[in-house]
Symmetry: C2
Subunit: 335 residues, 2 copies
């Protein structure tokens, strides 16, 4: 008795322990635990009682060694200090938990090499799949992982590979909405603060912006690191180069907030002198002054779509890729 109690404290009980307690073979316990059928109701009850008594939990590693499934999913964001990504992480984690999937979290810093390393390390843990915001700038390394059998859901990026599916937001349309709004407001000279960090995403926002620009309007697009500081610096430089800019579309809300600060610091009013529209709709956007007008990406839906797509991919079920997520304009004060 004492012995059992002591062992209990050190080593979790195993299938064998349960089997021994019930007086059946491990195989039978396994059948019950995995609900594979082929056992009597009486056996089921006795086994489950023992499972509860011994607090038995299957060892995922032993199981994974055989089934090649670990019930884990990795989420890789470029950074966590842009509030948008934690908000997505939150929704991915919630959706994953609903599917009994445990989440690995990693960051790429928006750097391809870091991303590659992260993927390598993650790969050792054999996640069933990976949900990733790829760092911009090339996807050869992604292909190499895909070739080795890793399943991936790529957000806002499209890669043609049987092991990859994409979930993309209609950012091109969103950029159009932003331009439309600014023009409607009466802006005569628009600029876009783009990002140096994101490949395809950037291009979608950027081309959406350019395409929506009224004919004859100057095409001003400049890229920076997508941070508050980056937005601040770029807005400063932009109004110095083009003092008559009266509307800005920012790569994302964080950049927009930096831009607002820069404009205010230079004595301009937002949206009076310069109107600004951001992108993402992070929570912070509604508590800054002026509150941010922005393009909303529904992270709730995004996370759900991504997890659902991943599960389908892992189970070799048909998935339509890319799934496209609609975005909407949220009008507040800044633009």
């Amino acid at each position: 008795m004492t012995d059992v109690a002591r062992r209990d404290a050190t080593r979790p009980s195993t299938l064998h322990d349960v089997a021994a307690l019930v007086g059946v073979s491990p195989r039978t316990v396994s059948r019950v635990v995995n609900d594979q059928g082929g056992f009597s109701e009486a056996t089921r009850v006795r086994v489950m009682d023992a499972v509860n008594e011994l607090r038995y939990r299957p060892n995922v590693m032993a199981r994974g060694l055989i089934t090649r499934r670990t019930n884990t999913v990795a989420f890789i964001a470029p950074v966590l200090n842009d509030p948008f990504f934690p908000e997505v992480a939150d929704s991915v984690q919630t959706a994953a938990a609903a599917c009994e999937l445990t989440l690995f979290l990693a960051m790429s810093k928006g750097d391809v090499d870091v991303e590659h390393d992260v993927l390598l390390r993650l790969n050792a843990h054999a996640p069933d799949g990976v949900i990733i915001y790829p760092a911009g700038g090339g996807s050869e390394h992604l292909l190499s992982h895909l070739d080795q059998g890793m399943r991936m859901v790529l957000i806002d990026t499209e890669v043609d590979h049987p092991n990859a599916v994409s979930v993309v937001s209609n950012l091109r349309g969103g950029a159009g909405l932003a331009v439309e709004r600014l023009v409607q407001r009466g802006c005569k000279k628009l600029a876009m603060i783009a990002s140096t960090k994101s490949g395809p995403t950037l291009h979608r926002r950027e081309s959406g912006f350019l395409d929506a620009l009224p004919a004859g309007m100057e095409r001003i697009v400049q890229a920076i690191d997508p941070t508050v500081e980056g937005g601040y610096a770029m807005a400063s430089s932009l109004i110095e180069q083009h003092p008559d800019i009266d509307g800005i579309f920012a790569y994302n809300d964080v950049v927009a907030i930096g831009a607002i600060q820069a404009l205010q610091a230079s004595g301009r009013s937002v949206p009076g002198d310069v109107a600004i529209v951001g992108c993402d709709d992070i929570e912070m956007g509604s508590v800054v002054t002026p509150a941010l007008t922005t393009i909303r990406i529904d992270r709730e839906r995004l996370g759900n779509l991504a997890v659902r797509a991943l599960v389908a991919l892992v189970e070799d079920k048909p998935v339509d890729s890319p799934s496209v997520l609609d975005v909407e304009l949220v009008v507040r004060e800044s633009g």
Copy 2:
């Protein structure tokens, strides 16, 4: 050849594959890979070449089955939509990665039952340890996991158990700093907006506030859900009950931001009519208007301390618990 290539695509190569290629036993490869010594330099080179050629990566599950270490750590935050927690997660993830540890992420919603479930599920993956912001309100369930051998680093919570260590911020002192600042400003009637969600943490901030209150000053402390909305609601109700309140210490920055909005909505100026000091120093605090005066918790250090403590705990090395993290007053505009 074709066969090998095909297998390569489906199944990662194993220790055996490497051993076969080199012409040694698996054990030798294992020794080299784990750098355990007991092999010649020539062997090492040949093995490593084969490792690279076959892109061999050890299977963590098979290894973990024997060593009982998985090189994973779980981080459990109550929520992710308060920016403070992602900022901590970021630093924990970075510190963990530096120790070759992969991070699981989970959320408790500040709910003891959810927390228990999360721990149960996580436990199946046998993380080497768990870093957790415990949901307030009882730690019996934590003890049950600790008793079963789970190692934990508890943030801002103290539990007396050989498998637990704590990392706590000096929030009691921080609250003192906040009161001191408000009194220095000339505030005559202070209130604290506390949290219903956090047990010991709450108490530390709360008792720190109360203890620092000048003799004779009314003791007003009311608790809400620590969100922007919560802060808004409580500030509204507080100034209705006590219209002469001229200083508020908020449980955290998110609450402080909500409070500022409520005060401004009621026509009061911050800090003119009511000064506000928050806690945490989230990034958002510096971009709202007025910029937040707050008590800074250094998440960088926090994450490092937590991971370091965990590693020591896991390796059965001595750790001093609790490690205490100093906090500092950051004066901006709100208070």
